[in-house]
Structure formats: C-alpha cells, structure tokens
Subunit: 456 residues, 2 copies
DNA sequence: GGGTATTTGTCCGTATGTATG
DNA sequence: TCATACATACGGACAAATACC
C-alpha cells in the first residue's frame, strides 16, 4: 500500500511527523479509519513514504497519547473510536448485495442451469491442466484469442452448427457482449441502424445503443422478422437469434432463414446471427446456422458457452465475414483480449479431447427427458386448462393458461407459492426448466397447480 | 557449519548488514555458492553470528532484489546463478517469448514486464483455491462483479491510491476496454466528444471511436493537457492517464491535477482518470488519484491489474461517480460481467490476504533498484553526453542525448546493435527498463554506448 | 498416512547512535 | 541546546511449510 491519502509536503515548514499525525488524526475523526482498523506498521509506512522509523513512530506515539490509536506490542497499531460526529456520516447502507430470492423453491427463470448436471470435476481438471502449462499465466495472450482455441472452435462450430470459418476469421471474447461491441465498431462506418424483432433481446439492444447504433424494432409474424417490414425499413444490418427467441420461445424455420439470406445477398445487408444455445436443440433435427447455409457470406456468427457448459465460463466467439475481417485486422492490436487465458486453454482442451461432444449429447438427452416429464406433469395437473406449446427452443416451455387472470397475476400467484415463472409474449407463461432438477419436476408442477387453482 | 567465509567486523564502520551482503554477494559471484545452494536460515545465521534477525534479513533481502538470491516462503533462501565470469555470459538469451524480435538482445520497449519476478506459484495456488470454492464454478456471478472483490477493491484502492468509493460504486470488467465501453454507453446521452492529450493512447481512442464519441486531441505542455485548449474546446469529458503518459513518460503534477478538477467543477465536466500503473511509483511519495482529491466527484477512476500482477490476468475496475451510478443501476442487469469469476475470487483473496501489498512492495523496490542501476550505468558510459531526466513515471527513463543525430536515427542505430529503444516527445529517447533483468542492465548500457559512439 | 512439533520466512514495536539545522 | 530525522540493530510473535512421528 502506498497510503495515498496521507499527503506529506517536505517543504511546507510543518514537521513531517506532525503532518503525519494530522492526516491520520483526521482519517480517524472522519471515520475512514474505523475502530480496530489496523494501521500500517511503522517500518512499512516509513518505507512507503521514504521516512525513517522514528518519524513515523513519533507521530503514532502522539496519536496514542491523545487516544486516537492503541499500540499493541509486537502486533501493531490500531485505531480507536474517535469519530468526530460530523453533520451526517450515514449509517452506510450497503445495498449492493444481490437480494436473495426469498423463499423461491422452484425457479423457472430462464437464466438458470442445472447445476447438478455439470461435469465440475472434469472442468476443474481441465483448468488445472491449463494452469500448469508453461507460459499460460506469465505471458501475454493473443489479441484475437489463442490460436489453439480458435482452431478448436473452427472445427467444433463446423461440426456442431455447420459454421464455415477459418481460425483467422474467429475472434474470441468474454461473452457475446464484448464481441458485439467490437463488431459495432467495425460496422458503424457503414451502418447506423440495426433491425431486430419486436420482443427483443435487451442485452444486445443495450450494446447497440451504447455504440450509437439505432435500434429498429420491427414487427414479426410467427416465423420471426417480417420480411416486408425489414425491406421497408431500409436497414442494412439485422440482428437475429434464431435458436432462442427469448420471449416467444420459438425458433425461426428454415424458410424464413433462407428469405433472410436472400435479403442479405440482394441488399448487401449484414446479418448478425446470435446462435445462443443453438447446440441444445434436442427435439427436431438440428437446424444448421444461417452462416453456414450461406457459405459464410453476409452473416456474422456469434456463439457462446456460458449457458452450455458452466455459468461461470465467460467465453464467446464470433466468425467474421471476409469483408469485416479485412477491417478488423489492421486494428486488431487495439483491442485487448477479454477472455481469460486459462479458460481459453481449458476450453480448447475440452473441445479437442471430445469431452464437449459427450457433454452436449448428455445435456440434450437430459433436457429432452426433463421437457417430456414436465409436459406430462402439467397435463396431469391441469388437464385441458393449460395448453402446452410444443416448440423447438431448448430449455423452455410456453403455456397458455385458460383463466381470467392475467399473466402477471399468475406470476405473482406462483411466486407466492415459491415458484418463479415468467411472462411471454401474448399473455402466455414461460417456464425455463433447465434449472429444475429432474426429481423435482413433479412437485414443481403440483406447486403451480395449487398456486393457480386454490384461489378464491 | 561456521560460515567462515562470512567475515564480520563490528567496529569497521561498515554496517553489519552491508558486510553480510557483500560477503554473500562475492560468494555467489565467485561461484562458491552455486545455483540452488541453500543458505543458512535467517535465524540460524543470526544465532551463529550473534546478530539479530533483522540484520540478516535486510542483507538477504537486498540480495534478493539484486538477483543473487531467491526467497521461497517458509522454505529458505537459495542462491541464483549470478556468477560473474567476465564477459562470457550470454549463454542463456533472456527469454522474452513475447515476440521473436529477431536479434533484439535488450528490449527497452515499454510493453514488457519482468517475467522473472512474478509470483506464479502463489497465484496458481489462489486460482486453485477459488476453483474449489463451493458454487464459484457452478453458479452465475454478479453482473457488476463479485461483491467480495468489489469490497476488497474499495478498500485496496483507498489505501493504495486514495480512491474514495463504496463497493456499490465499483464495476468490474475484463480489463480497461470493456469498462470504457460501458462508460461510453452511460455517458453518451450527455457528451459526444472527449478531450485527450495529443500523443494519445490508441487503445482508449479506439473504444471512444467505436462508441461514436468524437476524439478531440488537444495540445499539451510539459504538465499535460493545456487548460486553455481544454476550455476553448468546449468538451465536457476529458480522458487522462496521469500516472503513465506513455509517450512522454512524465506524470501530471499536482498543480495541473487541481486545475483539471477545478475545470470539472466549474463546467460540469467529467474526467476519466485511467490510473494505469499508478501503484508503481517508487521514487517519490505517492501522488494520490485525482478521484480521491476531489472526494469522488466528477472523476471516474479506472484501474487495472494486467501489468501489475500477471499479463494473463484480465481484470480491471472502475469507480463511478454518484451521478453515473444512478444511470448505471437501472441497466446493470443488461450487462453481463466479462471478467472470469474464478479470477475474481482469486484476486479478492490475493488482495485481502495482503499478498497484493507484499507483491507491490517488492515490485516497487525492484524497479527502484533497476532504475538506479540503469542511471548509474548510463552515467558511467556516457558521462555528460546524455542527460537523464529524473522523472516519476514508473518503469521508464527519458534521455536527452547531446548529438547531431536525430532521435529516430538513434533508435535505428541501437536496434542494429540489438537494443530496442523508443522515441519520446521532444526528440528524446525513452527507455522502458521493466523487462530488462537486473543483471543485464550494465551490459545493455554498454551496448547502447557502442551503438551510439562507434559511428563515423 | 494423518496429526503434531519444529523450522522457516516474514513482520512487528522498540531502542540506540548520529547528523543536521 | 534542542527538535527533527535518519540509519542501524534488537528480539519477539506469527503462520505456513516441513519433518517427524
């Protein structure tokens, strides 16, 4: 520590030990040093401020005599309670802690994952492995992301999602947002508006807005963005998340994907394809990424692993188009890599050793079973009173509840019964079941039933 | 063992710890103590020679700093390889894996760190510790950054730099850039131009440009941004990096800092204080951060650990002003945390356990010794032909070379001789010595001499 | 192989002698 | 002569690593 708050001026005429005494005294009086806070040791402070021990000691001693400090031999100096009750030192309300969701037994929020079905052990081992590799910690990383990981990702994303991209096209970052932000910088000389679906995706909109790119929310039909609205808007940049349209819970069918690609080809538009959870579709045949359908032209692909592997892994990647790569290259050195180097190597190992594939297979199966079990449980509980929307989006079910109550009211009722659910577009209810352990599903459905039916 | 080679004379006038230091140093240089030989423990030697622990310790410590010994906590002191074998050393080229700069033997570039003086072991252990903590891996993190780390940072930045901020004012991110980017989003509704010094800082400029904030490069005098230019510019946002003005190598004196704060107060301006390497000043007494001088008003403080701790650690933090915090809060949930959760916990532990403090102290000492040694070596080599600008910026020296050659020419000549140096403002030469091992400094200075003097 | 005693580096407050004005 | 500041040295307390049962 340098104790920067202790300001000394060698030429002020005031003796050093007295300047020290005064600044510490005011720190105690103002409450910056609270009772039993430990002060830097005499030698330490002397070293840091380039003073001699004696100087510091005489300041401390005077403070002791006057009741600001207490000296404990061989242990240190400690502050005493000498706060001068100034005008108002507020009780320091530390409101920055996340409020614990009180009494939520079953959380159907869409931001949960099943913490029981994560291969923590393997992942820990991988991180440890990366940690021990020569020069992972001590050396600088590559700005664009480690080559090793970019190579692994190029292969993986082709196999899993049909993305065609060379390792040079791939940029790594700490999640989707920093990558979007970088992308905005590359693209803003060309395009200043972006089109996206009306019930949008807040976290992406926020980045666009922050980068000064106007967000155009266009209406959409059941298949996604309405093409006529898109054409009329004049936008030459569109953001879509085909695999996980958060609010509606439905995907974008192939027909609309092709229409979008056609739009890009004809107008010179660029599509940002945020393939959030694209790997997790378990019901139907996998729909390949738009990026690949088009051979990598006109589409920037965004993928991430936060919800797939572990919530704490903050690694995302994007595949740039050849044109954007040209723009990126000369300024690549201006962007520091944001993703942890250790995590990058660990992830590369995880992918290359085939563990990722195994994990995905298991997850898909698990979520398939969960979805089925939840569907059955709801049918049993409610019968025809709730319609369950069969859809392809992973990890969520959409319910239409036949009742007079509003969706918001249903949410409140459920929460009162310890079940957290969310609303979806069109007065529907959204259940994200990823975070509910398989064994709890039946009980969770029962709780929902009692919440919604035992009301006057 | 009687350690007969350690001859002490209590009445010689030479301090005991220095006699000890000298005898051990010559034992290492002469090869009597070979690499990894273990030295007697402090207490044993103190006992055998009838000295106090402190006396022995200060001798050992100086030897550590100068690269003769290595201390392994709780295990002992060990000799390093520092045999002075005349001119025939160079067997092991200093391993900068950073770039295969062909034939650069001594790299005085400012982007190097001393890879020999990083506490890899402790850091590995901290990461492992975080890795094993319950729910670090499996659960989501806080958007703003882990509370534990924010609390640690609030205390640390107050102690180390005089920053006054509560944990809720602190936002964590994967380095300075994502934080700047977020900050631009908070601020762009108000201000669309930012003023910064003319030889600017590319990585910050890039972010401003990407976010659509116009960069206004203003002229500056020896103390930094010229206040008249700033006032005339009409900008209400200024970016400064007082502790490390990269190109000039000089800091911003207190007088100018106060002027800047006055400007902020009078015009409602906001100052972004990027305190890059602020902790590392070793020469003078610490200059506290502007943020703290002003009680946290009108100044956003940015700090980071990449160059301080480990190049691979990508964690930065910023302290928002109360007004900006108000703007941030409602949209905090829209920003995902970019910094690795494991690294956050590891860093929090590192700070709270006092290891950060110890590390900083060691670094400061090391760089102080390096700076001194380099200064002496240059004076010996060039005499009055070069003026050495004594300045307070960490890790660099600025030279005025009295010659007809231009600064650029001097750089080229040096490079031809295997020494990389950089130009500074005003036709001066900048030497960033952080990456030069202590033992190589004399030779590096000699190389510079032969490069600059043996020319027709 | 797991607890315990010891050793180790580290850090602490303190004391003394001395050099300035 | 006295206050101030510095360099040097002392011996004790502590936690972590290690060695020993």
């Amino acid at each position: 520590m340098t104790y920067a708050y202790l300001q000394l001026d060698k030429n002020s005429g005031v003796p050093l030990y007295r300047q020290l005494y005064l600044s510490i005294r005011s720190a105690v009086e103002s409450g910056h040093l609270r009772k039993n806070d430990r002060l830097p040791s005499i030698r330490r402070l002397a070293g840091d401020l380039s003073l001699s021990c004696t100087t510091v000691e005489s300041a401390y001693q005077q403070l002791c005599v006057e009741g600001y400090l207490r000296s404990v031999p061989q242990r240190g100096y400690f502050a005493l309670d000498a706060k001068r009750e100034g005008p108002a030192r507020k009780a320091a309300p530390p409101a920055y802690r996340h409020r614990p969701l009180s009494a939520v037994r079953y959380n159907f929020g869409s931001d949960c994952v099943d913490s029981e079905n994560i291969d923590l052990k393997i992942w820990r081992r991988n991180i440890r492995g990366a940690l021990n590799r020569q020069d992972v910690l001590a050396a600088y990383g590559e700005h664009q992301g480690e080559t090793e990981l970019r190579e692994a990702l190029a292969a993986y994303s082709y196999g899993a999602r049909g993305v065609v991209a060379s390792p040079e096209q791939i940029v790594i970052g700490a999640g989707t947002q920093p990558l979007l932000s970088l992308l905005c910088g590359l693209i803003r000389s060309d395009r200043r508006t972006v089109a996206l679906e009306e019930p949008g995706f807040t976290q992406a909109e926020q980045i666009f807005a922050d980068c000064g790119i106007t967000v155009l929310k266009l209406p959409c039909d059941g298949d996604g963005l309405r093409m006529d609205a898109l054409a009329r808007s004049g936008a030459r940049l569109a953001y879509v998340s085909p695999s996980n349209r958060v609010r509606t819970g439905t995907g974008i069918p192939m027909s609309r994907r092709l229409e979008l690609l056609k739009w890009a080809g004809e107008t010179g538009g660029v599509i940002i394809e945020d393939d959030y959870n694209g790997e997790l579709r378990y019901r139907a045949r996998p729909v390949p990424a738009m990026q690949g359908i088009n051979g990598g032209k006109g589409v920037v692909y965004l993928g991430s692993f936060s919800k797939l592997l572990l919530p704490s892994i903050r690694i995302g990647y994007m595949a740039l188009t050849p044109e954007l790569l040209e723009r990126y290259r000369p300024r690549a050195a201006n962007y520091n890599q944001t993703a942890s180097k250790v995590a990058q190597f660990a992830l590369a190992d995880y992918i290359k050793s085939g563990q990722m594939e195994r994990h995905l297979r298991r997850l898909r199966k698990l979520y398939g079973v969960k979805s089925e079990k939840l569907t059955r449980a709801l049918r049993r509980a409610f019968g025809p009173k709730v319609e369950i929307l069969l859809q392809e989006t992973p990890l969520t079910l959409i319910l239409t509840v036949h009742t007079e109550k509003s969706a918001g009211e249903l949410c409140r009722l459920a929460l009162k019964n310890g079940v957290r659910v969310q609303t979806a577009a069109g007065g529907k209810i959204r259940l994200g079941f990823a975070g509910i352990p398989l064994a709890d599903i039946d009980d969770a459905a029962a709780c929902l039933k009692s919440a919604w039916e035992n009301e006057p």
